[in-house]
């Protein structure tokens, strides 16, 4: 075995790929130079159902002759998680032709594969036109929520009735002792459990919507006026190249939390959507705010502080309802009770309150290991399965019952859990009514902040798909993308396969991947500090400068090549990490879920604001403050309700013992 063989493997793979593409080309319409003038079928066939027009563009370029298949529809949805599935359904309901592109197998990909069977927080019972929803988010996101968007999310839930739709599509939510769906309806928001994405995926497949699984987006495409024109992607299954051309593109690419290293979330969540906008200079807010959960190290995970840190965590324990009472510090002491037993603290959800209480324990060095890299808490599992009506029972019961039986593993009474990012926050500026981006025709659906990502995703994807499908009916032709843009994106991707290892100098993409993760979790752990973040930034810049040019794929195949996939993910992981650390360094306060040991207090005067982070063409990062959109709950009222002089928000003040 040697490089020669690897090289030959790649060449043979390339030849096969070319042959496959040529065969398809023979059967499909040859487009060539007439690509942009060709009357798009999607334009006059909006009947929905059977659509998606596949063609092979057989253009020749001096820089290379990479073939790619062009698929056309009114709307391209990128990502098959909750947002993507919902957007696809809504667009199809509204009569637009739609294609769903998913990085993994649809219904099992990204965080939707990780989280299915878990909670869905619906706002459909809201009675005051979204006002109480906006109020809830404003307070629970510690003042930083865009209230206009939150209100529209609430309105979208009332209009689209997610729980009804989800059950109608074959799902069965958890029922309580009164035989009703589990969920305490607080101000029109109710957490219901056991929502599954497999049903949605089956339903869309049944409808005949073209779904492309294992298809990784490389970049978005724009027309010459700067409008969205679709995306360019590579099939992870066989390495073939594809362009998805549509009048509107809904980006539901999920978070970038895999870059954070310590995560119970999906390895597929590497932020391609964020990267496509970041690299074009668009600013993001909320990047510094993590989305935390508590994940057990055993039986599925590894300890991230080990020499061979594989950094895989699993078994999530979402802190809903009364579950927070099961959280213990390293001395086995339950620490959240004092936080919640004070009625004045009921403004915050159990989850946000539990995070602040946990931060206080960390500050007092009461976390399980206390070595800075592997801080955790204990989660008391005793008797958890005997509480069938507890929220999230399905996920606990499933995980514990299945793993006990299959792995022959007995859970300890107190399971060590790490605070980790199950998902990530970070959104660009967008129209609060339609979610459309500054790039016309592009709808990025990313999670903002830590509260209710299911609520957010459902509402935003509904708004986007509704707007997009209304607009495409008015538009006659598909936008023209630039074939040069496609070629350069593809050349960049295929180049990773052609690079060769020279005298042991090459660094395998999987290792570069891990280096970014390691830098991230060491600099952006639950308790952050200036020093840690500076180290993280320096390491990321070093990786960008030194490691990236040497990055190679040990695996050269076009077929299901993990090395190649990880190489193609590097840019987005790096950009998202850099955006995060720049924003985090600028936020010199502690505002849950963002905690700093060097700034333990919340500081409303200086930091009750957004931090917009962006990078210019020269690679220089910039962070700017922006006013909170407070159209529902005025800033003065936020400052009164979230009083930063209150010791409960100061993580240097210990939890009250009860």
């Amino acid at each position: 075995m040697g490089e020669e063989l690897s090289r030959r493997k790649f060449i043979k793979g390339s030849v096969l790929f070319g042959a496959a593409a040529a065969t398809t080309a023979a059967m499909a319409t040859t487009v060539g130079a007439t690509l942009t003038s060709c009357a798009p079928r999607g334009a006059n066939d909006n009947s929905g159902g059977t659509n998606g027009n596949d063609r092979v563009a057989t253009m020749q370029f001096a820089s290379g002759d990479l073939s790619y298949v062009v698929h056309e529809a009114d709307i391209i949805v990128v990502g098959g998680g909750m947002s993507g599935l919902n957007a696809t359904r809504v667009a199809n309901d509204n009569g637009a032709s739609v294609i769903l592109v998913d990085k993994g197998p649809v219904g099992h990909s990204g965080n939707s594969g990780v989280l299915w069977g878990q909670s869905f927080v619906s706002a459909e019972n809201n009675k005051d036109d979204g006002v109480s929803i906006a109020n809830f988010f404003a307070i629970d996101c510690m003042g930083i929520m865009n209230q206009e968007q939150a209100r529209n999310v609430g309105r979208a839930h009332v209009e689209s009735r997610p729980r009804i739709v989800i059950e109608q599509s074959g799902n069965l939510f958890q029922r309580d002792d009164d035989n009703k769906v589990v969920g305490n309806d607080v101000e029109g928001m109710a957490a219901t459990h056991n929502a599954l994405y497999k049903q949605s995926a089956q339903m869309l497949t049944k409808r005949g919507i073209p779904i492309y699984s294992n298809m990784m987006m490389l970049d978005i495409l724009l027309d010459d006026k700067g409008n969205s024109a679709g995306i360019v992607a590579i099939s992870l299954a066989d390495g073939s190249a594809h362009v998805f051309r549509g009048k509107k593109t809904i980006l539901c690419t999920g978070g970038y939390h895999w870059a954070t290293g310590k995560t119970g979330g999906s390895p597929e969540s590497t932020g391609e959507g964020h990267y496509a906008l970041l690299k074009r200079g668009y600013a993001f807010k909320d990047m510094e705010f993590p989305q935390y959960d508590f994940c057990g190290i055993h039986p599925f995970g590894y300890r991230p502080d080990k020499e061979q840190d594989q950094i895989e965590l699993a078994v999530t324990f979402p802190v809903n309802g009364e579950i927070h009472k099961r959280m213990l510090n390293k001395d086995g002491v339950s620490y959240t009770l004092g936080f919640f037993d004070d009625p004045s603290k009921q403004d915050l959800s159990a989850f946000q309150g539990a995070l602040i209480a946990t931060a206080k324990e960390f500050y007092q060095n009461k976390a399980t290991s206390g070595d800075g890299s592997n801080n955790g808490i204990y989660f008391n599992l005793k008797g958890l399965q005997d509480e069938p009506n507890s929220q999230s029972y399905p996920s606990y019961k499933g995980l514990m019952r299945f793993s006990t039986k299959n792995l022959n593993y007995n859970y300890p009474d107190n399971l060590e859990c790490l605070v980790n990012e199950y998902s990530s926050a970070g959104v660009p500026a967008q129209n609060p009514q339609t979610c459309e981006h500054e790039i016309p025709g592009l709808y990025p659906i990313f999670v903002a902040l830590s509260a209710g990502s299911s609520t957010w995703n459902w509402g935003q994807s509904y708004l986007a798909a509704k707007d997009a499908s209304a607009k495409v009916a008015e538009e006659a032709s598909l936008p023209a993308f630039s074939p040069d843009d496609v070629q350069s994106a593809l050349l960049h991707a295929y180049d990773y396969l052609q690079r060769d290892v020279k005298d042991g100098e090459g660094i395998r993409s999987t290792e570069v991947h891990r280096r970014i993760q390691r830098a991230f979790y060491k600099g952006q752990d639950f308790m952050k500090s200036e020093d840690g973040m500076k180290t993280m930034l320096a390491e990321l810049e070093r990786i960008q400068k030194e490691d990236l040019p040497k990055m190679v794929c040990k695996d050269k195949s076009l077929n299901f090549n993990r090395d190649w996939k990880m190489a193609m993910e590097i840019d987005s992981m790096l950009y998202c990490s850099l955006a995060t650390v720049h924003a985090a360094m600028a936020r010199k306060e502690s505002r849950s879920p963002f905690f700093r040991s060097d700034y333990p207090k919340m500081d409303n005067t200086n930091f009750l604001c957004y931090l917009w982070v962006s990078v210019n063409k020269n690679g220089v990062w910039n962070v700017e403050k922006g006013d909170v959109v407070d159209t529902v709950l005025p800033r003065s009222e936020i400052m009164r309700l979230l009083d930063d002089s209150d010791p409960k928000y100061d993580i240097s003040v210990p939890n009250k013992s009860v």
Partner: protein, 246 residues
């Protein structure tokens, strides 16, 4: 030196290899990684030995993507603890994309045509009540199916008696069964089960044995067979080869 495990993996890359071949790798039994699952072993081999194509996502039995044959039995890699030396091969009965990754489309299509996602003629106006114990004991376990396809890989009717063409398979049968019992469905799911080949099941019990979500697949199929027989819906003699899957 700690104990080691020897893992034999079946490799096959259709773009390079004429035939599948096997290779054996040694991995340490590191107590810090305990319990050492098959998925952790794959991570180890891919990182420290050589690239292996394998699919995974959640690491905890919820996404259903890491199903492979371990010692000739279909298992989720994340839900299998190594006990000694083992062989890993792609899920049997499915076309191999590469190494341990297979194309599950044919089986997935059977899930889709089970019409599991179409419940009622008219949309529900409200969320209906379901008895909580019934939900917990019967419906929830069925909903825990991960579409991992372990039951398809283990099914004797499909793979030994070659009934892919006229048996919806154990997984899709569970979906039909769920709709049959959930009390909310408006169509005749028993009839659907018969037309989907419920009597082709040979009751080998493998689906129940291999289901990582502990669904009583085989028993549920038997229940529908018995019920259909009582209703006079059992075909006389050999079932027709030409029944369409509904």
């Amino acid at each position: 030196m700690a104990n080691t495990y020897k893992i034999t993996i079946t490799h096959y890359d259709s773009s390079v290899d004429l035939e599948p071949y096997t290779k054996t790798y040694e991995i340490p039994d590191d107590p810090d990684f305990a319990p050492m699952t098959a998925l952790k072993a794959l991570h180890w081999i891919n990182r420290y030995h050589e690239p292996v194509a394998y699919d995974y996502n959640c690491r905890r039995g919820t996404c259903g993507r890491c199903a492979i044959m371990i010692d000739d039995e279909p298992r989720l890699a994340c839900m299998f603890t190594l006990t000694g030396n083992h062989s890993f091969a792609p899920l049997s009965g499915f076309p191999v994309i590469r190494d341990l990754v297979v194309n599950k489309q044919e089986a997935y299509a059977k899930f889709v045509v089970s019409n599991h996602t179409i419940k009622t003629l008219a949309p529900d106006g409200v969320l209906k009540q379901i008895e909580s114990e019934f939900w917990r004991e019967k419906l929830y376990p069925l909903n825990a199916c991960r579409e991992c396809m372990c039951c398809y890989a283990g099914c004797q009717a499909l793979n030994i008696f070659n009934k892919w063409g006229r048996f919806a398979g154990p997984g899709a049968m569970q979906e039909i069964y769920l709709r049959h019992i959930d009390g909310q469905d408006r169509s005749n799911r028993l009839e659907q089960a018969v037309f989907s080949g419920v009597f082709e099941c040979v009751q080998c019990g493998n689906c129940t044995q291999y289901c990582p979500s502990l669904i009583s697949c085989s028993e549920n199929i038997k229940e529908m067979m018995d019920e259909a027989e009582r209703a006079g819906m059992k075909p006389q003699g050999k079932a027709s080869n030409y029944w369409p899957l509904l």
